[in-house]
Symmetry: C3
Subunit: 282 residues, 3 copies
C-alpha cells in the first residue's frame, strides 16, 4: 500500500525532522522541542506528526507513526511516548530504509521500522555531548531527542551517538496480525479514531481471499455477538446511522457508522478480537 508520489524530489534526509509525542498541546512542551531543534539546526523543517497520543499509549503511538510514515518525506523521525519516563529503558537511533528513527527502546518505533522496510542498524543514544545539560529525567524529548535529531541534521553521523546495538535486542511490539482461515479471517481492533471508526488488523486482501467484495456483506463475530454489515467503498455509501465495513485511508479494514460513531455503537476496545466471514448476498 505504499503510495506513489509522482515526480517527487524528496528533500534531503537531513533537512526534515518529524515529531510524535504524548505531550499534548496545553503546555509549552512541544514548543520546547521545536526551539531546541531550531536553535541547533535553524534550517531544519519540522513536521508535527501528532502530539495528542493518549498519555503513555505506546501502541497507539506506534500505529499512528507507522500509518503516517509512507506520506512523510525521509528525515529524522523522533517519537516520544514513554510511560516508564526514562526509568528503565535506553534510547535508540535506528536506521531503516532511507530514514532515521529516534526514540525510547520500548516498542514505540517497531511498527514504523517495519513500514520503512525493516531496521538496518541501531545505536544506543549515549553521547551526552549531544544532549542538553542538565537532562531532566522526565523530558528526554526536549533534552536528548530534540538536540540529537538536530545534530544529525547538522551533519553528525548515527555512529557518533553511541555503541551499536544488535538488531535482535531492540524491543518490538507484537505485530498486529490477522489469521486467514478457510471460511473467515480473525483479527483484532487496532485503533479508534476521533470519528469513532474502528480500524482492524485486517486488510482488503484478506477479505478478497474470502471472496468478499465491495457491494457484498460481511458476517462479523465479536465475542458472542454476530452482525452482518455491508462492505462498501466508503461509509458515505450507506444511509446515515448505518454500520458499514470499508477499507480505510491506511489500507486497513474498518467499521464505521455513516454520520455516527461505530466505536461507541459496537463497544469494541483496542485489542478486541473480531472474526470476519462472507455474509449473505442481499
Amino acid at each position: 500500500m505504499t503510495p506513489r508520489l509522482h515526480a517527487v524530489q524528496s528533500p534531503d534526509v537531513t533537512s526534515v525532522i518529524t515529531l510524535l509525542t504524548d505531550y499534548g498541546l496545553e503546555d509549552g512542551f512541544v514548543a520546547s522541542c521545536h526551539g531546541v531543534i531550531i536553535s541547533i539546526a535553524p534550517q531544519t523543517r519540522i513536521i508535527d506528526v501528532c502530539h495528542l497520543v493518549p498519555a503513555g499509549d505506546i501502541r497507539r503511538g506506534a500505529a499512528i507513526l507507522a500509518q503516517t510514515l509512507p506520506y512523510l518525506p525521509a528525515g529524522v523521525h523522533v517519537a516520544a511516548v514513554d510511560p516508564s519516563a526514562a526509568g528503565a529503558r535506553r534510547s535508540v537511533a535506528v536506521e531503516a530504509g532511507n530514514r532515521l528513527f529516534i526514540g525510547p527502546d520500548n516498542g514505540l518505533l517497531s511498527w514504523a521500522l517495519l513500514a520503512a522496510g525493516g531496521a538496518r542498524t541501531a545505536y544506543e543514544i549515549a553521547n551526552t555531548e549531544l544532549f542538553l545539560s542538565p537532562v531532566s529525567p522526565t523530558f528526554h524529548g526536549r533534552d536528548i531527542y530534540a538536540p540529537v535529531a538536530a545534530h544529525l541534521c547538522g551533519g553528525r553521523k548515527p555512529a557518533d551517538l553511541g555503541p551499536e546495538i544488535p538488531l535482535d535486542r531492540l524491543l518490538s511490539l507484537p505485530a498486529p496480525t490477522a489469521r486467514r482461515g478457510e471460511d473467515a479471517v480473525e483479527g483484532e481492533v487496532l485503533s479508534l479514531d476521533r470519528y469513532g471508526n474502528v480500524q482492524l488488523s485486517v486488510t482488503a486482501d484478506d477479505l478478497a481471499a474470502l471472496g468478499i467484495r465491495v457491494g457484498g456483506t460481511v458476517a462479523v463475530s465479536m465475542g458472542r455477538r454476530q452482525v452482518t454489515m455491508p462492505f462498501r467503498d466508503t461509509y458515505a455509501a450507506v444511509p446515515p446511522g448505518t454500520l458499514v465495513v470499508f477499507t480505510d485511508s491506511a489500507g486497513l479494514v474498518a467499521f464505521a457508522v455513516n454520520s455516527g460513531d461505530a466505536a461507541q455503537r459496537l463497544g469494541l476496545p483496542p485489542g478486541a478480537h473480531v472474526r470476519l466471514a462472507r455474509g449473505p448476498e442481499i
Copy 2:
C-alpha cells in the same frame, strides 16, 4: 472590512498553501498532508487555518475560511470538510482574486470565494497524474488535494487539472443575510466560538442604519424572548457576567458575556433567527 496591511510585500501566490479540515489533531491525518506537500514542493510554506472544524460541518468550515482569508497571504487555499466522503460530488479548483482554492464542490469554498472577490474560473480536478496512487475514497485531502496543491506551487497551471466548469454550476451555500427593516434588522446566528461568543450575520453598518451606536442599547428578540443589551466596543466594557452586544474581530455583530458564555446563557444554536432593534437610552 478588508484589513490594510501597511507596506506589505506579499509572498508569491505559488509559495504558500493553507489548509482547513475537519481531520482533528488526534491522528497523523494533518501530518500526512504536510508530508505529501513537502515531498513534492519542499519550499512551500504551509499555514494551518484550522483542523478542528466539527466533523462534516460545511457551514462552520466555510465561515472560518471566509473570515480568516483577509489575513492570509495569497496562495493555494485547500479546504476539506466533506460529509459525503467523496461519495457523490466532484473536486474543484477555483480562481478568485489572486487566490486559488481547492476543495470539494459542496459549498465549503463558496463564502471564501465571495470574500476573495468572486470566482473567476473553475476547473474540475480530474487529472489523476497529479494524484497519489492509489486514492483512498475517504482521504481526498491527502491523496488528491495535497499533491495537487503542491504541484500548483511547483508550476502546474489550474487548467492542467481538468475541464473548465461553468461558474454557475458550482455549489454555493446560501449566503447568511441580514434583512434591514425600518425599525429592526433580522439575521441569524452564524457561529459560536470557544469563548461562547454568538456571532450574527449582522454587521455594525446594519446597526448604524437603525441609529444604534456604541454606548446605546439593543432590543434583541429571539423567538418569544426579548432581552435588552448594552452595545459596547468590547465585552470587557460591561461588568463580569453581563450580556453585551459588540462588533467582533470579523466585523460582525456578536453577543457575549464578559468572563462568561453567551452561547450557553442564551441557548442559541447556529441558524437561529434574531431580530435587533434600537433599545431604550439608559
Copy 3:
C-alpha cells in the same frame, strides 16, 4: 537551571517570532496571526508556544512562557492573554537579554522577563502606522502584535513603536515564592499540567537545603492534611497509583501519581499553599 545548548548557532533575533495565546485551535484566530506575519515578513520562522492557555488566565500564560523560554531561540516573543480585551491597559514592547517581548501590560510578560535576565528597556506600542487598519478592540494579537512583531523582524527598531516607559511602571505579577524556614519550606501550587502533575513554586535547592535528598521522603502539609511522599528522580520510580515528589522538567518540585492524576487525587488548585519538611526515613 538555564539549559546549555552545545555548539549552538542561534539564529538571528530578527528571524524568529514565537506566539503564546489563549485563542484556542477551534477557529482561524491563530492562522490569522500567522498570515499577517508571513504577509509582512515572509522569511520569518514562527514557533507556536501554546494557544490553549485557559481563556484569560494570565498567570498560567506567564508560567508557560517563562518555563518554555530557556529552550526558545532569541526572537520576538509575542504573548496575548488579556481578559480586559484591550479595555484599560496599554500594549508594550520590552527588551530583556537578547530577546524582545510584545504583549499587553497586564503582568503576562513579567515572569518571562525575569527568566530572560530582567527588562532593560520598554516602549508603549503606539505607532498606528505599524498596525492593521482597522484595529478590532478584541483582537490586538492579529491587528497590533502580529504586524508589529513582523515589522520588527523586517528591521524596525523598538524605539519606533512609541514612547519609552519607565521600567518600574510595567505591571508585574507577584513572583511565586517559596519561604525556606529552618525545618520546612512553604510554597504554593504554580500550575497543573495535563498529566495531573502539580507543580510547586519550590525548587530542588529548597529541598536540598532542608537535607531532603532523592531516595528520602517529604512530609507534605496542605491545610489540615498531612501526607508523606517518597522523593524520587521521576514519577516512574514508584509503583503505579503511588504519590511521589520529584523535580520536574522546569526544575521545580512537583507532586505526581505514577500512571495517575495527582491534581485530582490531592484536590489542590493553583495558588494553594503547601509546606514541605523532611520526612521519616523508610
